[in-house]
């Protein structure tokens, strides 16, 4: 493989695809782009790129759908989510589908090129924002794990549902705006170890029991609703592992 990763850009905004193409010039070889899920599946099958830059939201399904349709047939293709969408549950959904990282569209050209290279080499790319989402998701699932979940479930999921103190510390540093190299320096570990921690977090995120994280997503959605609706939904979500509150 050449040192220049082959990239396909998937985004429903033509202007944005053109912009990314220009930014990556020299750092990566853009071998194709697509504006819809169907197009993307075709282009990826044809070009067999190293990295697919993937919009989280698209009219006919979005990034998670592309990964679902491609990953089985082409496990060597790696995905990096790139989006203006900040809804945490959507971003986490794409990561859980199999993306190796998430960066926001406001990222600079140089940073994007570095992220593409890292993903091409099999590393995980966590922007501060993604690190924040992940910490939030695991904090929430930890809270749920503390609730009355059946003992059997807990044994199976305990390790996947929680981050180790070291993983948390690494993620917190990334959320604070430190790059991997700086995190390594501050924690007195090697960059490789930082990468290993981040990959482990990614794996946990992808394998963790579905219900814990989907409950977190429900919680997140409720936060943006008005109070009565929130209470109703919160009651529903809680009802899964807690006895229903007595009627007033």
């Amino acid at each position: 493989m050449s040192s220049c990763p082959r990239v396909v850009i998937v985004d429903d905004h033509h202007l944005f695809r053109a912009g990314v193409r220009a930014e990556l010039a020299g750092a990566a070889e853009v071998v194709g782009d697509a504006g819809s899920v169907a197009q993307a599946v075709g282009v990826i099958a044809e070009q067999r790129p190293d990295v697919v830059l993937l919009d989280v939201h698209m009219p006919d399904g979005g990034g998670a759908e592309v990964i679902a349709q491609v990953a089985g047939a082409q496990p060597q293709v790696r995905f990096l989510a790139l989006s203006v969408s900040d809804a945490p549950e959507d971003v986490i959904a794409v990561i859980r589908a199999g993306a190796r990282g998430y960066v926001t569209k406001t990222i600079s050209g140089a940073e994007l090129a570095a992220a593409v290279r890292a993903v091409a080499e099999g590393d995980a790319v966590f922007s501060p924002r993604l690190a924040g989402f992940v910490l939030d998701a695991f904090a929430a699932s930890g809270r749920w794990a503390g609730a009355k979940v059946r003992a059997q479930d807990r044994c199976e999921d305990a390790e996947l549902d929680q981050l180790t103190p070291r993983e948390r510390e690494v993620l917190r540093h990334i959320a604070r705006g430190y790059m991997y190299k700086e995190v390594a320096q501050r924690l007195g570990i090697s960059v490789k170890t930082v990468e290993a921690h981040v990959s482990a977090v990614l794996r946990k995120l992808q394998l963790s029991s579905r219900h814990e994280l989907s409950r977190w997503a429900v919680q997140r959605r409720i936060v943006s609703l008005d109070a009565p609706e929130r209470d109703r939904l919160a009651g529903d979500a809680r009802g899964l592992d807690r006895p229903a509150p007595a009627a007033p």
């Binding site: 900040d86 600079s108 501060p128 910490l135 943006s224």
Partner: protein, 279 residues
């Protein structure tokens, strides 16, 4: 152009009224048929009873007719209900569309117009774009308006937005957890604001990162830049920013502040407060 439109509307209107007239006629026919059926049945039953026929036969006939009647009318009722709910959802969709259009007009289109006017000033344009992005994003995520009941995170986000606009350096806010704001936390937000202002004003950094974590009774805020950095021991005594507005303010409210920096390596201000700690 105007005449073409007029023509269009004149050809369309009669066609629409013709359709509805046809529909009304069909309904009348159906009604007439149903009435006829009812009369015929009543007549048949009376006739049978008068001729002393079996009562059971009459009941059976009524049942058959009722079933027939049902078969004729039920689809009609269903269709009516469906068209009513379709109309309602169409109306709701139309309302939503109008609201969206109004919002985009007031926000995005105005900003785009401003950007065209100020095209010569890249800093100004970037600032306008970012402000619009922030506003649109919070609208899309349907967050309550920023000036409503305050939480720690919303107060920090607002402070970041203000500093960003004043000093034109993008500030990325990442947060985990949230909680209600009280007087001590307001002081903490004030200290964070000062830290952001310092970073934006003096560091020469391309962007500033703010990370806030509210976990149980503990609130932590980190403000980081990748700018020129400085030696924290050599802050001149007259620079009140760090000493009073950050460290002093946190200590007065039983919190803690730490400033980490080295020349050339950017800086980070760490603020921490235990909410349970009362004196």
């Amino acid at each position: 152009m105007a005449s073409a439109e007029a023509q269009l509307s004149t050809t369309r209107a009669p066609r629409a009224s013709r359709w509805s007239a046809l529909r009304r006629a069909l309904l009348l026919v159906r009604q007439a048929l149903l009435t006829l059926l009812a009369v015929a049945v009543a007549f048949a039953i009376l006739h049978m009873l008068a001729r002393g026929l079996h009562f059971a036969a009459a009941v059976a006939l009524v049942a058959v007719v009722a079933a027939l009647f049902g078969a004729l009318t039920v689809p009609w009722f269903l269709r009516l209900a469906r068209s009513l709910s379709f109309e309602r959802s169409a109306r709701i969709r139309e309302q939503e569309r109008a609201e969206l259009a109004a919002h985009l007009h007031d926000s995005v289109l105005q900003t785009l117009a401003l950007i065209q006017k100020r095209a010569g000033d890249p800093r100004e344009v970037a600032g306008l774009a970012r402000r619009q992005e922030r506003e649109l994003r919070s609208w899309l995520l349907a967050r309550p308006p920023r000036d409503g009941a305050d939480t720690v995170v919303s107060a920090l986000e607002r402070a970041a937005a203000e500093v960003e606009e004043l000093h034109r350096v993008p500030i990325e806010v990442v947060s985990v957890g949230d909680g209600p704001l009280d007087a001590r936390l307001e002081a903490m937000v004030g200290a964070a604001r000062e830290a952001m202002t310092n970073a934006a004003k003096f560091a020469g950094s391309e962007r500033v990162d703010l990370y806030a974590e509210v976990a149980g009774d503990r609130v932590e805020v980190f403000v980081r830049d990748r700018g020129v950095g400085f030696d924290p021991r050599s802050i001149p005594p007259d620079r009140r920013g760090v000493r009073d507005s950050i460290v002093g303010r946190m200590e007065r409210h039983r919190g803690r502040a730490e400033v980490r920096s080295r020349p050339g390596e950017g800086s980070e201000v760490e603020l921490a407060m235990e909410l349970g700690a009362t004196l």
